[in-house]
Symmetry: C2
Subunit: 396 residues, 2 copies
């Protein structure tokens, strides 16, 4: 079990992923955060017809005979009302967004016009086409506006609606089983006996998966019994697309998860050069990918964000790129180590300050903070120098 870098872990996972989620048609309304299964191709032109960019008068440019020659106002066109073809030699009163009438090739803004009764005097006209937004200027019929693999944001829903689609094809939510291992774990709400601690990983992971648009499937806490663990993991492999366990994959004496996964499929233990979060297991159970995260909450959190997330995104069919850290000023000194460290920090005006206790046991550090500093192996961080910072929101 040799030490591998975070990049190597990424590369191994990426090479062994496949998209596990099928397609389904859903209503556009409930599709925030869902992943497109097909490109969105516009069936219409936007705008659907030539229309006015101004309140003013539409006319054929060559009908303008100079400042003191009035034109008859032959129609009035508001947004939403279909215009009639422009009577030759006349002008149409028109408002912003209204469709320009057939036969008009210019709109003159009202500030350059004087009207009286049914006549209008125009001071000056521009080039032909002036103040007209041509049909299809923004989007042409047949244009691809969003690609398969895109995770839908609010504005994307607006855009898709503007093209007239009310149902779209998306990937089914990736079903991810969560199994917590550890005899010392107790559910919140119960009372702690000596030596016990509350199970926080389950809540943490469930919320992360929810955030990412997946369907978490909670398989609870398993006891330290190989038969029970085997039953739970088998069931999870039948029901879920991916299995995640926390705890139980170290080299400790009480660890049955590794043996069970080995008996049902295969498992590799990786010593990833990452802190917090060194032990990480990857394998499969009857064809279902298996990710074994550390039991320690901060280690579980960091490995979920840094190692599990890109793999899960791949399995969901999300087209995504590596997160690019920001550069901010470190307000602390910290020596590097042979491992890539993910330091819990908080942004203040002057830069990022460190949470004093970087022990992987202190989950409070992640709630106190709003970002992780990525400290590369052997990189020393010096107060006042820029460092790589990933705000937690970028992991969403």
């Amino acid at each position: 079990m040799s030490l591998i870098t975070v990049d190597e872990a990424h590369a191994r996972l990426r090479s062994s992923h496949r998209v596990l989620a099928d397609d389904e048609a859903v209503s556009l309304k409930g599709s925030l955060g869902r992943v497109l299964a097909a490109d969105i191709v516009s069936g219409i032109n936007v705008p659907p017809a030539d229309n006015s960019a101004m309140d003013g008068y539409a006319l054929k440019r060559e009908d303008w005979q100079g400042t003191d020659r009035a034109l008859v106002i032959s129609q009035r066109i508001t947004a939403g009302s279909p215009p009639q073809a422009l009577k030759p030699g006349t002008a149409a009163r028109i408002f912003t967004g209204a469709e320009t009438p057939e036969g008009a090739d210019i709109v003159v803004m009202q500030e350059k016009c004087r009207s009286e009764g049914s006549q209008v005097w125009i001071d000056a006209v521009g080039e032909a086409g002036c103040n007209i937004r041509p049909k299809g200027q923004d989007i042409m019929q047949g244009d691809t506006v969003l690609k398969a693999g895109h995770r839908l944001r609010a504005q994307d829903l607006g855009l898709i609606a503007s093209l007239g689609f009310d149902r779209i094809s998306v990937k089914q939510r990736l079903k991810v089983a969560i199994i917590s291992t550890g005899e010392e774990l107790v559910e919140p709400g119960d009372t702690l006996k000596p030596g016990q601690i509350y199970n926080s990983n389950r809540y943490l992971l469930q919320a992360l998966l929810e955030n990412w648009g997946f369907e978490p499937m909670d398989f609870g806490i398993t006891v330290d019994d190989p038969d029970v663990i085997s039953d739970v993991i088998s069931e999870a492999s039948r029901k879920a697309d991916v299995i995640i366990t926390t705890g139980g994959v170290s080299v400790g004496e009480e660890d049955h998860v590794k043996a069970v996964v080995e008996s049902l499929g295969h498992i590799d233990l990786w010593r990833v050069a990452i802190k917090p979060g060194k032990p990480f297991a990857f394998g499969d159970v009857q064809g279902t990918p298996f990710l074994g995260l550390p039991g320690n909450p901060v280690s579980a959190f960091v490995t979920a964000l840094v190692i599990a997330r890109p793999f899960l995104f791949d399995c969901q069919g999300i087209v995504h790129s590596e997160i690019v850290p920001l550069r901010q000023v470190a307000l602390f000194d910290k020596k590097g180590s042979f491992r890539q460290e993910y330091i819990r920090v908080r942004s203040v005006t002057a830069g990022v300050e460190i949470f004093e206790k970087q022990s992987s046991g202190v989950l409070y550090s992640t709630s106190w903070g709003d970002a992780l500093v990525v400290q590369k192996p052997d990189e020393d961080i010096k107060h006042g120098n820029p460092v790589d910072v990933i705000p937690f929101v970028l992991f969403n």
Copy 2:
């Protein structure tokens, strides 16, 4: 109706907000994105008892008599098993995370020990307290770990679970009515007649509100009839905490929303020096705050993010601070104007590139892009210089 700055709009809204959401108790499991109604105060110490930071041996420091004097191993303590008081003059085999026994004041890592049968020889010991994580080191009973008004992230759920809480007090989701106005609007799924466009604002706003953890209440598209508009707005004021309309608050001739809101309460039209998004209305209907956004989709989007969002967060009871833009390199030139402009851009390795068509009609610009550049009034942006950038994710 004089022109006001974006900051003035913020200040006016902030001064007239009040928290509109009541408290409710919810299960921790479903509380991602919810807002704490009360501080989270720890009822326990974390760790709950002194425990070992290492695999090794626990003993009383003064019982160590030198390298060649063995101690009897009197018990074996694993994580989760309660220890007995240490027999005087003996050592306890202990593992990481296990509770240290009463009477022990030091843990020596196993690498410094040799054991044979029931005896252990210890090469050297450190200071008293060494390798022991004292009770309450991370969190003391009575410590406030999260404050009322905090929006819950995944790690916060983990932290709260680790303290044993399975139910928490949160703010009820803010109920926000959405009313679309405009005769030319058609719902996606229907066929466009000449002069009609699809209603995209409804989907856009609904998704934004959902993203922010609110409860959107959709009141559909209203026709241009003052009686109908009055009925819809009255109903919304009874059912929702805040009313948002899109369109219908310009100074156009067909605009009935302003008159209706005036008859039911009061309304102010603001000319905010913002682009896109100048016209903005603020008022109240029978005591319910009323926000009138522009009808134009990009203007509605930008004003929702920049002007409505902080007000809605205040009404929900979220303690939040102003979004701090990042500094990135502009890959474009753009002259400033008297208005604060929000330019749709996309991040690439070298900086941010501009979407060619910055017309407020082009909703595609917001889907194409991943951020807004904030261009202050009269600020000229020059290619290669740093500018203020707000990635869309920071508005979540």
